[in-house]
């Protein structure tokens, strides 16, 4: 009786601590859906022009019954074009608990065009971008490259009840990709899911299945020994574009953080040089309304352009390279990178 009273008193005194601890233990038991390991050579300090092996291990609790292909996504700079330069294989253990056969090093393929993610109806790359964003890569064009197994796994949660609900699939993806010729610094992201539930969120701990952010891991990567200065994707550039992906035949904004180059009263104008496909150059330095930049902050500016209109190009004239710089009205203050200005890159 005294012991019971002691327990009751203890619970009354520390009831909130007890509740919190029990919640933590319950969540710990349920949160085995995650990427547990990312193995990348030299802690992500990679050399240019090399083929690099990366291994990612994840635990996943699939739905009670269903048919799914395993999906694996990699966030990387778009120029790396992993659909062309990377090869991926998938191995598993634990499918036997769900009435399936485990696999070893089966090939993963880029998700074919036209296949969409179930919760967003977007193509897979866009769906990942909408769900997970750019993960700190604010200074350049990055992309979620999404792969999947060709094999569909048929899962039955009741196939082996000897482990109760404590059944998970452990998936291992081995990636080999070429680091390319450029020097770059960026965050590389990895994520698992399945085609059946896609990125449908696991909303709460009462919702048994679904995607959760632990099924993603992000690691810093720096590629050195290649061409040019390091393109740092992790810091905001003084000059950026909206949207980040476009062609020279699209409408886009040039965003510019001038720092202390111009004073509060200066009208700042966008200037540019277009190299056309036949090699001729067109320069635009007129201080006219279509070049006047809109002030968006203390030292930040923006100008939307349609390049053909900005450079007054004729029908059939195509831009192959584009450079920009900035000037005040009388040209006494100019912000220009190098001889040509800052190069604006269109989507490859």
């Amino acid at each position: 009786m005294m012991i019971m009273n002691g327990i009751i008193n203890f619970f009354n005194r520390y009831k909130f601590v007890c509740l919190a601890l029990s919640t933590v233990f319950m969540m710990a038991g349920m949160c085995r859906m995650s990427i547990t390991e990312v193995t990348i050579p030299d802690s992500g300090n990679l050399k240019a022009n090399q083929t690099v092996p990366i291994q990612v291990v994840g635990e996943y609790e699939p739905g009670a019954k269903g048919n799914t292909q395993v999906v694996f996504a990699i966030l990387a700079p778009s120029y790396l074009n992993l659909y062309e330069t990377a090869s991926l294989t998938f191995s598993s253990s634990g499918f036997n608990y769900f009435g399936e056969t485990d696999v070893t090093d089966i090939e993963m393929i880029p998700v074919p065009d036209g296949e969409t993610e179930v919760s967003t109806s977007l193509d897979w790359s866009s769906a990942y971008l909408a769900r997970e964003g750019v993960q700190g890569n604010i200074g350049g064009d990055v992309k979620w490259f999404v792969f999947r197994t060709e094999r569909t796994f048929t899962i039955d949660d009741k196939a082996d009840d000897s482990l109760g609900d404590d059944k998970f699939i452990i998936g291992t993806v081995k990636i080999r990709f070429n680091t390319g010729s450029r020097n770059a610094k960026f965050y590389m992201g990895f994520s698992f899911c399945g085609t059946e539930k896609g990125l449908t969120l696991k909303y709460s701990d009462t919702e048994e299945y679904g995607y959760n952010p632990d099924l993603k891991k992000v690691v810093p990567v720096e590629i050195t020994g290649g061409e040019g200065e390091t393109d740092d994707y992790t810091v905001l550039k003084l000059i950026s574009t909206t949207p980040t992906v476009f062609g020279f035949g699209d409408i886009f904004a040039i965003n510019f953080d001038a720092g202390s180059t111009f004073s509060e009263d200066d009208n700042v104008y966008l200037c540019g040089k277009a190299v056309l496909s036949d090699g001729t150059e067109k320069t635009m330095e007129e201080k006219v309304s279509k070049a006047l930049m809109e002030k968006t902050g203390t030292s930040t500016y923006r100008r939307y352009i349609y390049p053909k209109d900005f450079f007054s190009l004729g029908q059939g004239e195509e831009i192959s390279e584009l450079y920009v710089w900035f000037s005040n009205e009388d040209g006494s203050k100019i912000s220009k990178e190098g001889e040509n200005g800052h190069q604006i890159q269109e989507a490859e």
Binding site: L122, S125, V245, F246, G247, G249, D309
Partner: protein, 153 residues
Amino acid sequence: MKKIMTYLAAAAGLLLAASCQPVSTEMDPDYPSDYDISYALGKVLEKDPVNVTGIDVCPYFDFFKTFRFTIHVRGGKMSSFTIENGDVPFYPFNCVEGEEIECRFDGESSPNVLRIKETDEVIAIFDRGECYLPFQLDCEQLNYEYRFREIAE
């Protein structure tokens, strides 16, 4: 009392008779069957994978003010349209400035659309009281929409 009941019965009879009249599907003869609907650009949305609902770029370019889209209604049906591109340096699809292009209203698709006659090509979409025209320019990841506002000309 009997008089009141008689009036009520007569009124009910009249209402019943009126409700049994077949509903006319004919257009009001005083309403013109030939007229034009003119649109200017209210918004030009640019949609990309990050900004999926779109950014309105219309205010940043004066040339969008000069664009006109006119639907010609003949015999009570949308029969053709004309695009006057003004100073806009691109066309939303292949067409000739000011050319009247025959079209048909497809009320069976949802939302309703305006198609070029004898093709499936969609020119404009009518959805929730709005008329808009989707198109692309260069990059496949970018989609544009002309969102129209009706004007009196």
